[in-house]
Structures are given as C-alpha cells and as structure tokens.
C-alpha cells in the first residue's frame, strides 16, 4: 500500500474519496499524530460552519449598472455580428483592410517612436558626437587639400618639364645657328686674309723684280743667272 502523506490524506478525506484501506490509515494517523488530528478537527469546524453565513442577505446594489456600463460595447458587438450575418462581404473586407493599414501604421509609428526614444542622447553624448563630426570634417578637409596640392604639384612639375624642354631645344637650336654663322665668318675672314696675303706677296715680288731689273738691265745676264 502506498504511503500517503498528511496533505493527501486530508484532501482525500475532505473530498470523500477515501477507500476502506485509506480510511483505516486516516483513522490510524489521527490516533498516532496529534498535530494531524488537530488539523482534521480544524477542518471539521470549517465544514460544520460552512453554512454560517447563509442567513446573510445581499445588500441593495445597482444591478443595472453592470449592463449599463457594458451596453455600449455590447451594442457595437451586436452590430458587428449582424453585419457578418448579413454577408456584407465587401464591407468586411474593407474594414479588414482599414484595420490592417491602421495596424501597420501604428507599428511603424511605434518603431519610429522607439527609434526616436532610443536616439535621445545625453549632453556628454552630444559633445562626443560634435567632436567626432568636427574631427571627421577636419580629416576630410585635410585629405581634400592634400589631394588638391598633389594635383597642383603634378601640374607644376609637368609645366616645368615642358618649359625646360622648350628652353633646351631653343638653346640647342640657337647655338647651332650661331656656330654656323661664326664658322662662315671665320672662313670668309681667312679667305680674305689669304687674298690679301697673295696680293701683298705679289706686290713684293713685283717690287723685287723691279729692283733686280734696276741693278742689272741686261736681259742676257738676267737669263743666265
């Protein structure tokens, strides 16, 4: 036989579900356990006095207030049910769509409200955000300036190279022409000097011939010499 604890035994006794074995156990427990017996006696007292308040009457109260307070929504419910009974399908579909739209809008509003509430920052957070924005702007400005300066430097370098190339070409071409001209002048000068020298030597030879003829007028001597 399973051993029943006091709580289960008392519960079976109160519900009147004790079989013969359990009843014997119950009586034995009442005899052996004075605390359990006292609790059973307490339960017995309550059972005997369960009708103690039966002569009490209910005080006057406004019974119609229960219906009056509920009438408005009951009427709405009845109207809603009657709409369904009359098979106003289009109306039902329309109202369902409205409800769906309202639900979605409400959900979006809740989301935006929650997002707004979640984004309300403290003064410290505002300062941090401002600081971050300022640093970000400064960094962007530096980067753009550096890129622009790099472009300027490239452009200047390219322009400088082109200028140098033009200058070099000009210098080369100009010096070559000058050298040609110089050499031409030099050759002309040398040629003129040679012509002058030839004239000078011819004049000297003529003078010398004249002096020789003056010293010895005989042509035979001259031919023998």
């Amino acid at each position: 036989m399973p051993i029943l604890d006091n709580e289960s035994l008392l519960a079976l006794w109160l519900d009147g579900e004790l079989d013969n074995t359990q009843h014997a156990l119950f009586m034995q427990r009442c005899t052996d356990d004075p605390a359990f017996a006292a609790i059973v006696a307490q339960a017995n007292t309550f059972t005997e006095n369960s009708e103690a308040f039966s002569q009490w009457s209910v005080p006057q109260w406004d019974r119609s207030a229960v219906i009056a307070n509920n009438t408005s929504w009951m009427a709405r419910l009845s109207n809603w049910v009657s709409v369904g009974k009359n098979n106003h399908g289009a109306l039902s579909v329309g109202l369902s769509c409205c409800a769906l739209v309202i639900a979605l809008l409400t959900f979006n509003n809740q989301l935006s409200s929650q997002a707004t509430m979640a984004q309300v920052p403290t003064q410290q957070e505002i300062d941090n955000i401002v600081q971050q924005k300022v640093e970000q702007k400064i960094t962007e400005q530096q980067q753009s300036s550096q890129a622009m300066f790099a472009q300027y430097a490239d452009a200047l370098h390219t322009q400088q190279l082109a200028t140098s190339k033009q200058l070099t070409e000009y210098l080369l071409s100009s010096s070559r022409q000058e050298r040609k001209e110089d050499f031409a002048e030099l050759v002309q000068f040398i040629n003129e000097q040679r012509v002058n020298d030839q004239r000078f030597y011819a004049q000297q030879f003529n003078d010398l011939q004249d002096e020789i003829y003056a010293i010895n007028p005989s042509p035979t001597n001259i031919s023998q010499e």
Binding site: I39, V66, I67
Partner: protein, 183 residues
C-alpha cells in the same frame, strides 16, 4: 425542477436578454457577495468587489466556452478581481504574505454583521495570507474539489492541498494562542 440551466441563461444574456442576466445575478450574487465578505472582512469592500466581479463576468460572458461549470468560471474571475482588489489596496503586499492585524478584536463592521461564531470565522480567515485564505474559502464555503480549485487558481492540485494544510495548521496555532490568552 424546471430551473433553466446556466448555459441557457448565458446564451440568452448574450443576445441582450436582461431578464436572463437578472436570473443569473440572483442565482450567484449571494455566493459571490459572501465570498467577498470572507475575503475582505468588510461589507462595503465585499459589495464593491461583487460589483466589479459581475461587471467583468458580463463583459467576458462571450468568452465562456461552456466546457466547465459556470460557477467555476465565475469564481476564477472572482479570484482575479480579488487579487486585483488587494493589489490596489496594498501594492507592496504579496498574496503569500501574512496580513498584519492591528487588533484581534472584531471590527465594528463585523459586530454589526453577524454573531460571535461568524466573527470568529472572519477573524480566523483574516489572519491567513490571501493565497491560503482563498483555498479555505473555495474548499469549505465554495464546495469545490481540489482539482477545480487548482484550475481556478492556475496552480497544481498538490499546491492547493499544501496551501490548505498550511492554512489549517496556522488556524490551529492561532486558536491555541487565543485560547491561552482567554484563560
């Protein structure tokens, strides 16, 4: 013998039949009122609680499935409203806490209400925590089985048995103390 069943009255009340609702009220207002008296130990509070219970019963009448006894469903609502009543009255007190009783003598309201035996019962009930008081109320005065009480309170039958046993043990101790003081 020709009493209309609760389910029939409920069906009629749901269609707006005030007479059917009146019949339901007259059938259950006394048990609900006495439930309130024993749970609150105050006639005015019991009256307010009764009105609140029936207001919620009428409002949720359409949700009654008819699967169990209407009385069990009614007292399930009564349980919720009673807990709500105590939460409004003492927000920081748990339903498992033993209430503080400033004076062991009966209040004037109780003296006016009944005889010495009823006063003793009300005082004894008042000394119990709400959770145990409810089990005693539903078992001895509501005549519900342990399974029905467990369903109403949303706890296991073993919990109900344990609460009742603890309540009776506490009542026994209190009665012994009172007996000792009276001598």
């Amino acid at each position: 013998m020709f009493d209309t069943t609760d389910e029939t009255l409920i069906t009629r009340a749901l269609t707006g039949n005030k007479r059917a609702w009146g019949q339901l009220l007259s059938r259950y207002e006394k048990p609900v009122y006495l439930y309130g008296v024993r749970m609150t130990s105050n006639r005015e509070d019991a009256k307010d609680l009764m009105q609140d219970i029936f207001f919620n019963v009428y409002r949720n009448l359409g949700q009654y499935q008819g699967t169990g006894k209407f009385k069990s469903w009614l007292f399930k609502i009564a349980h919720y409203r009673c807990i709500e009543f105590y939460r409004r009255k003492k927000p920081l007190q748990s339903i498992d806490d033993t209430p503080e009783i400033a004076d062991s003598s009966a209040t004037p309201d109780m003296c006016y209400a009944g005889d010495a035996q009823q006063q003793t019962l009300l005082l004894a009930m008042q000394s119990l925590p709400i959770a145990q008081r409810e089990v005693v109320e539903l078992k001895f005065f509501g005549q519900f089985t342990f399974v029905e009480i467990a369903e109403q309170l949303h706890v296991s039958p073993n919990t109900v048995k344990a609460r009742l046993y603890s309540a009776l043990a506490k009542l026994k101790d209190n009665s012994e103390v009172q007996y000792a003081y009276s001598r």
